[in-house]
Amino acid sequence: MAKKIIATTSLAGCFGCHMSILDIDERILDLIELVEFNKSPIDDIKTFTKECDIGIIEGGCCNDENVHTLLEFRKHCKTLVVIGECAMMGGLPSMRNTIPLKECLDEAYLNGPTVADCNPQKIIPNDPDIPKILNRVYPCHEIVKIDVFLPGCPPRADLIWDALVALVTGAELKLPYTTFKFD
């Protein structure tokens, strides 16, 4: 059987979901027998050297580049899996959704105690070389169709493992209650 190809990326997430994938511990050594990790977190069409079987997304979309990546993942991955609260619902970064973006920027760059008296030109980062921030943080399913949702912050390693095995082997996904028990 040809190895399934997996691609992963972190959008507006904290990498905790990726760390939870690593928490499958020794099983990661079994996993690499079953799948081929696409060699990079993929960014645009040129780097999608292969079509992928499974795309795993951590984090929602907080800037234009996140949206771009997500669209590319949808286009090139047969099955799109979102892992974690941030990708599913926006998560902690979406706490800014009730606040005008300008207030967030002002607080960070103009008003904070270590910048207030030393930013006389009132610089707020804004450059063609950095992405544009969206008005709010969007969960992935508001942008593209998502096939599989794995909840948790982060999802437990066992849940990720069971889901991966099911997706790779085509077996039915077992969902014992314990893997969904949160903090």
Partner: protein, 483 residues
Amino acid sequence: MSKKIVIEPVTRVEGHGKVTIHLDDQGNVAQSRLHIVEFRGFERFVQGRPYWEAPVLVERLCGICPVSHHLAAAKAVDVIAGAGTGDGLTPTAEKIRRLMHYGQMFQSHTLHFFHLASPDLLFGYDAPPEQRNVIGVALANRELATQAVLMRKYGQEVIAATAGKKIHGTGAIPGGVNKSLTIEERDTLLKGRAPLNADKMIAWSQGALAFFKDYYKKNKAFIDGFSQFPSNHLSLVRKDGALDLYHGVLRAVDAAGKKILNDVDYQDYLSHLREEVRSWSYMKFPFLKILGKEKGWYRVGPLARLNTADFIPTPLAQKEFEAFKAVTGGKPNNMCMHTHWARLIEVLHSAEVIRDLLLDSDITGTDLVTKGKWQPVGVGVIEAPRGTLMHHYRVNEDDLITMANLIVSTTHNNEPMNRAVNCVAKAMMTGQKEITEPMMNAVEVAIRAYDPCLSCATHAYGQMPLEVSLYDATGKLISQRRK
């Protein structure tokens, strides 16, 4: 003809870091920049939340070392809850937190060394990219890979036992902790299921150090010379000058070892630090106030810590520390690649501290929380795996946060990482017409030595992609290379 080179080490759309290099008409590096391209807005959106939520909210900014944020926030809210400024916790609470923290240090450093550094060391910097990642390590040397996975697992289990969960735990609360270890939990970590026990972790840490030192012997010129430049160094140290990753006073030394910040109380950090905002990066640039924006930048992290500390308070790590210091005759070490060495000494130190804490009877105690007189302001500082991490909160009489200021480790290293990129770009790209893979690798290696969280995580899954584009002065693409 002037040129602009763009390198996106963590991929553009990963949205974390990107390098641009401008070459002038003569092909000299006119300017280089590491852009940090993410913005969360935490400082503002946490306002209005009860302060006791801070330790569990803020850790979700970084899932690679969430314990560090959890504890820095907890130390700040301790002050607000009237539990003192680092010396007010019960012995059990303080030791449980330390155990959590050193468990974190152990797993995070292990992850960095094995998943990130070892592929380069095992296969060489010019090996095929497909091989140069942790999966390559696993395929080539299953024993080393298994050891890596198990060391990280051990650190994660220490965290789970103290924080309740491996990632984004809840163990620290204002004034203390919400659980201590049961005797059973302690014994599992101490004696453990083979091979996961405290002594084994010490032995494996020594093995990793031996591996590095052997590599150093064979590649001395590279390790000493690559991307090295003088800088100031900042970290916490214990009051007596010992390395302490959980608590202490702020000390900074210059490149020659002169103290420029002399063991000050971090509650007063505002008297000493400021941050500069630059339009091309969402990450700010901290500097020491007395030296100003130009000269006041500094490095933090393992290398900085071994430069500021006078000694390491565990015997095996102290011996390694002495050997490390001997290389520079006791003076600060400004060699970027020696950070890997320093990191491994801290791995060994962490393993020793974990074992000692597990042998301490306080670790199973029941006196968990200190209460005291409420204060409106609190600052918490901790040495995270990547360096000094600062949290500062102000609250109103309803206990709601009115101001939050965070300076995270990677931010402290903003200017040094930019210098490192500049240093390598100058050395490798001056006058070059074509960008080759070794040049891109070199930039990558320089940034990676600082272990910015995101490249580290990216590496957990494979080779960090790089894209280099050459533009002419009008912005027209004239050459592009990817790997």
